[in-house]
């Protein structure tokens, strides 16, 4: 198990190549990266690269169609959050691994029903650190409030959490030490951060009952 940044955008979406990202990630103490639309997979410079796809859809039908298409090529499927009904539908769909961008969605789109759905289906909620790093004032306060709310529901319903930097450049990547400090701003404990950084591995290899083959 290793520390994974659950969403980075390498070149051409960002300004940093995939291999350069892996070099920087290793230096910062990360063991794995989920690279969106990455051309390579596997271990690069001792960092495990997984291919992720971010899906944005207006309706659930659109999302289902895109998920089916992406399942063939991607290790991890991330869906951008929408309104409450959309999120509930996404969280009950088996092919989705992570729901991200809750801080951008309107207020109260992730409630106790969504939290229970996420816990039952094992879909993770992503905590994107980019608004904490880049935003100031009201925007950052709204994101912190959203993450506090998600954390409160996580402590009650135990759905998985992931942490991502949303980095488009190597300057946006953060070390494990920095991630722990940033997550402490909205009340996340170090052991919860450690757990969230290891969630991606568990999403791809969920634990189940022992089977005799």
């Amino acid at each position: 198990m290793g520390c994974t940044d659950a969403c980075v955008f390498p070149y051409p979406q960002g300004d940093t190549s995939l291999r350069r990202f892996t070099l920087e990630a290793r230096r910062l103490g990360l063991n794995a990266l989920v690279c969106i639309d990455a051309e390579e997979r596997g271990h690069i410079h001792d960092v495990l690269v997984r291919r992720g796809v971010v899906i944005e859809g207006e309706s659930m039908q659109e999302v289902v169609a895109q998920v089916k298409k992406a399942q063939r090529t991607a290790d991890l499927i991330l869906v951008k959050a929408g309104d409450a009904a959309f999120n509930r539908a996404v969280l009950t769909y088996r092919g989705v691994h992570i729901l991200r961008g809750l801080h951008r969605a309107p207020k109260r789109v992730f409630d106790q029903v969504s939290a229970k759905n996420a816990a039952d289906k094992g879909v993770a909620i992503d905590i994107d650190l980019s608004p904490l790093i880049h935003l100031r004032g009201a925007g950052r306060q709204k994101s912190l409030q959203c993450y506090r709310d998600v954390l409160q529901l996580h402590r009650k319903y135990r759905f998985p959490l992931t942490i991502s930097s949303g980095a488009q450049t190597l300057l946006d990547l953060r070390s494990v030490r920095e991630i722990t400090h940033l997550c402490a701003v909205f009340g996340m404990e170090p052991h919860e951060v450690e757990d969230a950084l290891e969630t991606v591995d568990r999403l791809l290899e969920p634990s189940g009952p022992v089977e005799v083959i």
Partner: protein, 160 residues
């Protein structure tokens, strides 16, 4: 003014932060402005005044900050949110905290050797750049200051 006796002085801690990219030349004053803005926007003016943050030095790709003992975590968190200094994109990665400057200076590594690179064409745009640590290549679009920067590795660029 007569300095306070040692027993009445406030205990201090020093924080070593790495500046990325290492070749950006940043004035300590500019770094102080950026760090103070990050601190006050994250923790508010009242709390920031308690932290007593100061920039001790800013050279060779590293920056040393001073703060009151017990407030290191607050300063480190705020330093993680610094994204630009004097209009230039940088990242600050806090590396270590200590009670003495000497201990931090032992953690500082010498700057990597750099080689300049000219006339690299990528997607129809001409770039110049720097190669360092044998495999890292930073490219700058030629011409105007603060233009697009690309971060690649040597094997992707296929340069000699």
């Amino acid at each position: 003014m007569k300095p306070r006796p040692p027993t009445l002085r406030q205990k201090r801690r020093y924080i070593l932060a790495e500046v990325i990219p290492h070749y950006r030349r940043i004035e300590p004053r500019q770094m102080y402005i950026a760090a103070f803005e990050a601190l006050s926007s994250l923790w508010g003016d009242a709390h920031t005044s308690e932290l007593q943050m100061a920039v001790i030095s800013c050279e060779c790709g590293y920056c040393i900050f001073r703060c009151t003992r017990g407030s290191e975590a607050f300063v480190e968190t705020a330093l993680s949110t610094v994204t630009e200094v004097n209009g230039e994109r940088v990242a600050l990665h806090p590396m270590a905290t200590s009670g003495t400057l000497h201990a931090l200076k032992t953690r500082m590594r010498p700057l990597p050797e750099e080689h300049t690179l000219e006339g690299v064409e990528l997607a129809g745009v001409m770039y110049s750049g720097i190669i360092f640590q044998r495999q890292k290549v930073d490219l700058y679009a030629k011409g105007i200051k603060n233009q697009e920067t690309l971060y690649f590795t040597r094997d992707e660029m296929e340069v000699d």
